[in-house]
Amino acid sequence: MSGANKKHGPSRFEVYLSKYWQLYVLLFLPVLYLIVFKYIPMIYVQIAFKKYSIIQSVWEMPWAKNHGMQYFIQAFSNPDFRRALRNTVCLNLLDLVVGFPIPIIFALILNEIVFTKFKKVVQTITYMPHFLSWVIIYGLALQLFAPSTGLINMLITALGGETVPFLNDTTHWVWTYIFLGVWQSFGWNSIVYLAAIAGINSELYEAASVDGAGRFQKMWHITLPGIKPTIVILLIMAIGNIVGSGFDRPFALQNNLVMSWAEVLSTYVYRYGIKGLQFSLTTAVGLFQSVVGVIFLLTANTLSRKLGERGLW
């Protein structure tokens, strides 16, 4: 084949390569990165079904008991895991119920501001917390909510109230956790909605004004329907993340006094896996999280399409 081609000049493939080889050179490193750092770990996922051993390769490790499901059974019979799962779901649901509407409301408020310079300043200030690390926010919270010397408790006592253990009592800790999450992200998350609002046809508003619609009627009948597709997409993604959990926020904010409500799956995996070296068990937990996440995402997407929305794809 190639011999025949050499006689008749270069093959089509060679012509193609001689033109486009530079693009493949560029793609080489990113593809290598994806293979090494994203796909090889996927091979290691089978450790969830195998008995981990340091000296053997993943392929040689013996299968776990109960048709490989031993570690999943072990996880679900472990009270610490069940507690972490409950906390993950509860904290994420609270985040969804409290934290999801706030950026939308804030974007609506911001959209009503007529002074452009002032609006820019407000945006700069409210996006700022997004750029603080969770360790710094924890440092801020320690100072702000300190039992006797913190600003909030000083105000409460000055007004004649009792000091509130914001960080040391489970119920208060949960609300502090939710509050700090909202505080950090509401400004930043409003950007997407502001972009969506900017895309709404301004003639709609003019027509509504002519018909005598007030400010809130326009918000309700034009702005909200206009950004509904964006809201739905972000809601689907939030639902897909209901058993997922970031590591930085819970780990930075938790302390020993509130662990019964602060331990989530990501920190559980850290403690049992990396600290406790129970690799098979915690790989199983991670796989459970990924699979449930994908299932939730697909379900939410199907539901939203059934209800007549566009969905993710």
Binding site: L29, P41, T126, L144, W183, Y270
Partner: protein
């Protein structure tokens, strides 16, 4: 312009007041922290510090700035942030650019490969075992390489590249420019806004990140500033810290902690407002094209 009615004007001002209140909620914790870091010990203990420092002094900052441990961690983290931002920008660019060529064979394959990683993540432990196998544990390179290409950021950059007219590229091709040359002389110079945005995202991510260091790095000399800060706030190795810094009174340690938190926040607060005009645009490109 239409003349606004009085009620409409009052309404406008109500929204302004709302925004002022919301902004205050965002800045008061920072102001309080700054006040505490600049206050005298006695005032802190007597619960007199609200939003303005009392007994103004810079002792806490002097302590922080004269401690080689913080200074070293600061410059180490600055270096780490610069290196990983440059590496990440380079990787993101060379990944996004070839994928805008429709005639590239294998483009769909790479796109599918990328999409899968967005939906399925192997998890903490498989990643840890990989790092262990690569022999990168306890080496600073582990804080640069594993997260050097963010698929989300790559999509933002690719959307931006799509926005650059094909005709520019095609006329350069006709003039005989190579694809390397087109990337370097056309795409990179035209992509300053998105480059600035992604540089900010990568830099903030590296500056603020501590979980990878917590998991992969055991030697304390390779701790980035945030992990050091975490340990200080939680009094990990408190005996060692106490003797080194001479925490004699509890009040000093409070204002010292406040000063350390300020110290590790300031770089971000300094660069962030200048990049704002770029990143809002960048975020919108990502949001609209998704």
């Amino acid at each position: 312009m239409k003349v606004k009615s009085t009620t409409a004007k009052i309404g406008d001002w109500i929204f302004v007041i709302l925004c002022v209140l919301i902004s205050l909620i965002c800045v008061i914790p920072m102001i309080n922290l700054l006040a505490r870091s600049l206050s005298g010990t006695d005032y802190l203990v007597r619960h007199e510090v609200y939003l303005l420092p009392k007994g103004l002094n810079f002792e806490a900052y002097k302590t922080v700035l004269s401690d080689p441990k913080y200074i070293r961690a600061f410059f180490y983290t600055v270096a780490l942030t610069i290196v990983s931002t440059l590496v990440s920008l380079f990787m993101t660019t060379i990944c996004a650019y070839p994928l805008i060529f429709p005639q590239l064979k294998g483009r769909n394959f790479v796109n599918v490969m990328i999409t899968i990683t967005m939906f399925f993540n192997a998890g903490t432990i498989p990643n840890y075992l990989l790092i262990q196998k690569l022999g990168m544990l306890d080496h600073p390179i582990v804080l640069v390489l594993p997260y050097c290409l963010s698929v989300y950021n790559m999509i933002i950059m690719r959307s931006f590249f799509y926005g650059i007219p094909d005709s520019l590229r095609e006329s350069a091709e006709i003039d005989g420019a190579t694809f390397f040359r087109i990337l370097w002389s056309i795409y990179v110079p035209l992509s300053k806004p998105v480059m600035a945005t992604l540089a900010l995202f990568y830099a903030v991510g590296r500056w603020n990140g501590y979980s990878d260091a917590l998991m992969y790095v055991k030697k304390s000399e390779y701790y980035p500033l945030q992990l050091l800060l975490y340990n200080i706030l939680n009094n990990i190795n408190s005996v060692e810290v106490a003797t080194q810094e001479g925490f004699s009174t509890p009040g000093l340690s409070e204002s010292l902690k406040a000063a350390i938190v300020m110290f590790s926040t300031i770089p971000i607060l300094c660069i962030y407002p200048f990049l704002q005009k770029y990143f809002i645009h960048g975020v919108m490109v990502g949001a609209v094209k998704e």
